[in-house]
């Protein structure tokens, strides 16, 4: 999948972008609970469909974009579903129920992702008293993911403009090299972040929760 710049701007440019973050978190959270908690997988399917309707009809995210983004988690779950389906007598039923729950949960999470910039969610968490450590860890993880993501996108673009990995006999070697190079660049980026923290006076120590602290 090729992430267009427009796709990355989606959380900032949809009809829900001005809606209060708390409302969006509450809606997505309720749909997530509905997908995971009730015994019947049909509730999960209904939750997924409702999330899709809210995203496409109310927030005006295009159906094509919604389906494109939903494909990866569903395919990932489908691969696991094959293993579940072939392991035991009630395997197929369990696999279908799992897929339904993944559909519902992924749709609920995606509804929040496409309508809300992640930093708004972080800011919401930071405003809640007693969640400081959790929000710091969340933000740090988010920055790490963004840094690796940016490296990854830049390198994928570089693969394209160098025209590498397009024939079947070169692709395995090129993509293996790509994975190795991405790992090394991520490590280098982590070292740079560590140095950046050091020069700003942080001593490599993350604030640790003590017994009794509220996360």
């Amino acid at each position: 999948m090729h992430l267009e710049p427009g796709l990355l701007m989606l959380p900032y440019r949809n009809r829900w972008s001005r809606k209060p973050v708390g409302h969006k978190v509450a809606i997505a959270g309720a749909l997530l609970i509905a997908a995971l908690v009730p015994a019947s997988p049909f509730v999960a399917i209904a939750s997924g469909v409702l999330a899709g309707l809210l995203a496409c009809w109310s927030a005006r995210v295009s159906l094509h974009t919604w389906l494109e983004l939903l494909t990866a988690p569903i395919l990932f779950a489908a691969v696991g579903g094959v293993i579940i389906a072939t392991s035991g007598s009630d395997g197929p039923a369990t696999a279908l129920a799992t897929l339904a729950r993944v559909f519902g949960a992924a749709s609920a999470t995606l509804l929040l992702t496409v309508t809300t910039p992640i930093l708004d969610v972080v800011a919401l968490v930071q405003r809640r008293r007693g969640f400081r450590t959790l929000s710091e860890l969340f933000l740090l993880s988010f920055r790490a993911i963004v840094a690796i993501g940016q490296s990854g996108f830049a390198m994928i673009n570089a693969l394209r403009i160098r025209g590498l990995g397009q024939s079947w006999h070169t692709a395995p070697g090129i993509y293996a090299s790509f994975a190795g190079a991405l790992a090394i660049r991520s490590l280098q980026q982590a070292h740079r972040a560590e140095a950046g923290l050091a020069v700003r006076g942080f001593d490599n120590g993350l604030p640790l929760a003590r017994p009794g602290d509220r996360l």
Binding site: Y12, I161, R162, Q166, S167, T170, A181, R185
Partner: protein, 250 residues
């Protein structure tokens, strides 16, 4: 060779990054693409190598509109090569030689011939001694040299470079410019996107100046220099003479 007709691009609705840009890069030209941060230089390079698809207008390669199919983009990129600002992003091999040989191998060349060509190109750029070095052990300047070697092995007819002299010391910059001049003499069109107006006096034959996504000057370098203040007002660029002073101090 490559031309743009009313090329426009915006990253988000209502926020144009480039508006109706038209130009033609011809064989052997040494073009300097000038503009402040956010003027649209990198966007223009990304349109020229097919990473972005224009929202309006047309990009033409050898007189024909560029097709954005897999085959069309492959054709475009067989003519247009790019060296990115952070050259480390485009290096994938475990060693320098392995990386530089990737391009020729992709075109179906035998491994021995590809390695020989890679070695020749590295020698040409004064990087022969780096051949067996792992990529992650290279300095920023060395990475830039290796990235350039990697794209030169596929014999592009148009070479785009984003801030190629950033991070290079004076001898490194001189060597890079000599190589680019040699490539231009062999008929390659070269476009360098930079803030470094010093290159206008010492290297470029043509200048393209962008301001806020619009083309404000396109012509010979010697036509721009006498009217610098008028032509580049508000572009956020240092005057070439002033830039020369900064370069000498450096």
């Amino acid at each position: 060779m490559i031309s743009a007709v009313d090329l426009s691009y915006s990253y988000a609705p209502g926020m144009p990054a480039l508006s109706r840009i038209s130009f033609t890069f011809r064989a052997g030209e040494r073009v300097l693409l000038l503009g402040a941060n956010g003027a649209g230089k990198s966007t223009l390079l990304s349109l020229c190598n097919g990473l972005l698809r224009p929202c309006g207008g047309e990009l033409r390669l050898l007189g024909e509109p560029v097709e954005y199919s897999k085959a069309g983009l492959r054709r475009l990129r067989s003519h247009v090569s790019t060296v990115l600002q952070d050259a480390g992003d485009q290096l994938f091999g475990a060693t320098v030689l392995q990386d530089v040989a990737m391009g020729p191998l992709e075109t179906g060349m035998q491994e021995a011939a590809a390695r020989e060509l890679a070695m020749e190109t590295l020698d040409l750029l004064g990087g022969g001694h780096l051949a067996e070095r792992p990529i992650h052990a290279l300095s920023a300047g060395e990475k830039k040299r290796v990235a350039l070697a990697g794209v030169l092995t596929v014999r592009p007819s148009i070479l785009l470079l984003d801030e190629p002299s950033a991070g290079l010391d004076a001898p490194g910059e001189d060597a890079l410019l000599d190589t680019l001049s040699a490539c231009a003499e062999r008929g390659m069109a070269i476009c360098v996107a930079t803030h470094n107006t010093w290159l206008l006096r010492h290297w470029a034959t043509r200048a393209v100046v962008l301001r806020g996504g619009r083309l404000v000057f396109d012509g010979a370098s010697e036509d721009l220099l006498p009217h610098w203040d008028r032509q580049t007002a508000g572009c956020g660029l240092r005057a070439p003479a002033e830039a020369e002073g900064v370069t000498l101090c450096r």
